[in-house]
Symmetry: C2
């Protein structure tokens, strides 16, 4: 397996953290202080989570980014990650994947510590998994922490990574290389009562927060910051791949990171959409449901 040998050599060049020990063992050895670890793992499958023609470097970047985004939503500081990689059979593709992965890991200071490399049968969709480990702050906002009478906020803009009528992402860079909101999440975690990243669509993820928190959520459609002018707001709030942070704060608290107030919580359950103060019907499809 010359592919695997070359790939492991390339991995070793990236995995320079002492805990990786040069990838010379089946395990990583990570020294930690006493405290709370945040653990997350995401799998990206060809033809499900990415398109076969998406650039390899962007798939590597995105695999790191989606996991970093989960850490960001807990306000965690990345400690390291493990990569499970299905060899493509194309050494240049593998190299580009690793280069993109390494760009994200370097930019957000998450060392590669280990993992596994496998061959897959010809014709099978490739599947890549990254498992990230972070260190929590004193407070870890979960999905389920929202209380009635709070404000709902979101960072950044929504809808840019969604697909337009031509079947292409409206903002290709944003679709290919999302930015995990790590600094924002770390600033917000001490104050947010609930926090999660928006990965499958603002509405579907907001409904998940409402369910986990046992509160009702009302979102003002006209308050949602849209990624591009002139877009249909409903298309934006049902598009996926935003990787912005959705969070609740007690009334009267100003978030310590740039964010937009888009709604409120109240006693009850379910998700309500309003525009200019009037109710708007929920669309049939609230977002993507491809992941667990």
């Amino acid at each position: 397996m010359p592919d695997e040998f070359a790939f492991l050599t390339a991995l070793r060049a990236i995995a320079t953290h002492p805990a990786a020990a040069g990838l010379a063992d089946d395990t990583a050895q990570l020294d930690v202080a006493a405290g709370r670890l945040i653990l997350t793992s995401d799998t990206m499958v060809e033809r499900v989570h990415f398109r076969p023609h998406d650039p390899a470097d962007s798939i590597g970047w995105k695999l790191a980014a989606v996991n970093l985004s989960d850490l960001a939503a807990k306000g965690a500081v990345p400690l390291g990650c493990l990569l499970n990689y299905a060899l493509s059979g194309d050494a240049a593709w593998d190299d580009a994947f690793l280069a993109g992965l390494n760009e994200a890991l370097t930019r957000f200071a998450m060392p590669l510590l280990g993992g596994d490399t496998v061959a897959i049968p010809a014709g099978s969709a490739r599947s890549f998994t990254l498992t990230a480990i972070g260190r929590a702050q004193d407070r870890t906002p979960l999905r389920g922490g929202a209380q009635p009478g709070e404000a709902l906020w979101v960072t950044g803009q929504i809808g840019g990574a969604g697909f337009g009528p031509d079947g292409e992402p409206r903002d290709l860079a944003r679709y290919l290389r999302p930015t995990p909101r790590l600094a924002e999440g770390q600033a917000l975690a001490p104050f947010a009562t609930a926090m999660m990243d928006v990965s499958d669509g603002l509405l579907i993820d907001a409904r998940r927060m409402a369910e986990a928190s046992s509160v009702a959520l009302t979102i003002a459609l006209d308050a949602v910051p849209l990624a591009l002018p002139g877009l249909d707001p409903i298309e934006c709030v049902t598009a996926g791949d935003d990787y912005e942070l959705l969070f609740t704060l007690p009334a009267g608290i100003t978030p310590p990171a740039p964010a937009t107030r888009i709604g409120t919580t109240s006693a009850g359950s379910g998700l309500t959409l309003i525009s200019n103060g009037a109710p708007v019907p929920l669309p049939d499809r609230l977002g993507y449901q491809h992941g667990g």
Copy 2:
């Protein structure tokens, strides 16, 4: 996706540890003491690491066992794991997989804390990943710790999970449901200078230990404990899936767990095979090379 909903419900019934928080968040929150974590992750791919007709429960068991075996080889105590699961499209198969996984997790006290569930395109080989986290003891024997003048030992018996001339594993139970040597590894770790599990074949794994340790290894073929009487020793030491522990001890130390002395280390490099004191040529194929 009714499959995914049912699967998540079944997962929640297993993930009862507080760190899993009912799988209601995208992350797990694991409180740890200060110290060294051992991290490992293994992927099993259909038609590469398991056969499509292998029973689903055994695949779940084996995915846990191969990761536990890596923890065992470092003498680590399991703290928890994350599962990345590709839905099969067959709810009964998914249930059986989880039942087998849960049997192993329960028996070896490794709580399920989180992970990811994905759909895959029709016709693709399924791929399952488990990432395990353990707590190290004061000493963590790596592959690369062997010194010249030591003895080489192995737990249990070798070769039983190999394939016979009929194309079937000689000991089907051992192939389907390997036993990770956790108690043995924990007892051995304070004394072993190097330790690893035997997953791809005794000879190929021994050569990896020799390379990582920069020593020469000599294995006495007639000393290797064979899994079944009458087997060809060369077939046994090149078969995979043993999941026994291979380790070195300074001369004169008796291992605190049942094991057989099968060789010695010396200054130099490479792997030498002897039988009744005379050199035996190394076979062309030392074992499997399917994993990283």
